[in-house]
């Protein structure tokens, strides 16, 4: 059973030392553009000052269509060997696994799929 409670609980944390970005929970906010604007700016700033790559770890139980667009915009910043993705999904949840694979198709970024 999907955990679809706590609709507002999207956790975004970015360690600007290590380049690890984590997006977890449920991503279905009304204003996804506004919500993810800050993290996109931080990634841009990180690449101005660092030559290291970024690892983005997703651990979501649900995301809506406007979040999918923001994920593409975030992850496209990692193209050209500037990062990779750890796509964690609830074990047995083929929908969340497939939705990650659809993002992978659209990006030139390495994805690792991890059931948790």
């Amino acid at each position: 059973m999907m955990d679809l409670d706590n609709f507002d609980q999207t956790t975004v944390s970015f360690d600007e030392e290590t380049g690890n970005l984590r997006i977890a929970g449920i991503s279905m906010m009304e204003d996804s553009l506004g919500f993810y604007a800050e993290i996109k700016n931080k990634i841009d700033a990180y690449f101005l000052n660092h030559s290291n790559s970024i690892t983005v770890e997703f651990e979501l139980t649900y995301f809506n269509s406007s979040s999918a667009k923001q994920f593409i915009q975030i992850l496209s910043r990692l193209e050209n060997d500037k990062g990779n993705v750890l796509w964690k999904y609830p074990k047995g949840n083929t929908i969340m696994e497939d939705r990650g694979k659809e993002l992978e198709i659209l990006l030139d970024v390495s994805f690792e799929f991890i059931p948790v």
Partner: protein, 307 residues
């Protein structure tokens, strides 16, 4: 609200032909809480006499009766000897509107309405009351398959409440629970957010309609909202085109659209309704009505439950 709802649980009878319902209408200065449920002879006798008694009492007399019962040990099997009814009458400050319709021998449809002022501590003026027969008429004409119907503001708080209700009313224990739950929830999110993003806003109030119905082999979600005039031709053309894709084509359409739209800084991904179609494998039913007050879009989609 809880007391009215619990009234159904306390006095209602669980019979197949029963058409129980619970509704809240917020109109101008008043909140009108309505319930209708099937009851037996015993409940009828109790409720009829209790409501007659309560409606004759002044606010001071209601308070005394409430305290008297509270201090006594008189408690019925199904509740607190009418304490809930008395409490509701005290809160309302008005008579409790009610109506018993005899259905068969020893069986009644019990209609009940509480009218409360939006202003705390002040009874709703009599001329602001809605006659219970108006609600009886509305609710008796609602399709029996409708589990939930909402008409109001599609603000963030209301959207979350709608999704909670959607989730609570569509629990299933099929082998494909994951897919079924996802399809229902995702369809709800995308259709509801479609209204909040594209619906016409008047004074920051985006009015729309959302309903959930139970069908033989699934659910049907429908929505309705006024459109901003400049969007009408686009919407019509878009929905017509979307319904022409085969299910096999929809994944590719999703990917191409998401990729193309990710290049712009618009909030919309433009893939919400594509998802609604592909996960449900259903067409999107729609109609656009042109009224003097504006153009109104009605949409609906069938969500099959896969066993």
């Amino acid at each position: 609200m809880i007391e009215v709802f619990q009234n159904i649980v306390r006095h209602g009878e669980d019979v197949e032909e029963s058409k129980d319902c619970f509704g809240v209408r917020c109109i101008a200065d008043g909140l009108h809480i309505y319930s209708s449920n099937y009851i037996n002879e015993k409940a009828y006798t109790f409720l009829n006499s209790k409501l007659k008694e309560i409606n004759k009492l002044s606010s001071e007399e209601l308070k005394s009766l409430y305290m008297e019962i509270l201090e006594s040990t008189e408690l019925s099997e199904k509740g607190g000897a009418g304490l809930g009814l008395i409490d509701m009458a005290r809160k309302s400050g008005n008579s409790i509107q009610h109506n018993f319709k005899e259905l068969a021998e020893s069986a009644y449809q019990f209609n009940y309405q509480l009218d409360i002022s939006a202003e705390k501590g002040v009874p709703l003026k009599q001329d602001k009351n809605i006659d219970i027969h108006e609600n009886i008429n509305i609710y008796s004409n609602i399709d029996k398959n409708i589990l939930f119907y909402f008409k109001g503001d599609f603000s963030k708080d209301n959207i979350h409440s709608l999704l909670s209700i959607l989730k609570a009313n569509t629990q299933n224990d099929s082998k494909n629970d994951e897919l079924n739950s996802f399809s229902i929830f995702h369809t709800g999110v995308e259709l509801i957010q479609n209204i909040s993003r594209h619906g016409r806003s008047v004074n920051d109030f985006i009015e729309g309609v959302f309903s959930l119905s139970q069908e033989k082999s699934g659910y049907y979600i429908s929505t309705g909202n006024y459109l901003n005039d400049e969007k009408i031709s686009n919407v019509e053309e878009y929905l017509l085109g979307l319904n022409q894709y085969t299910i096999d084509e929809l994944k590719q359409v999703y990917l191409q659209t998401l990729k193309k739209n990710a290049l712009n800084d618009d909030i919309n991904a433009g893939v919400g309704l594509i998802d609604v179609r592909r996960y449900n494998q259903s067409l999107i039913d729609y109609e656009i009505h042109k009224y003097d007050s504006g153009s109104y879009l009605s949409m609906g989609v069938f969500i099959p439950i896969i066993n």
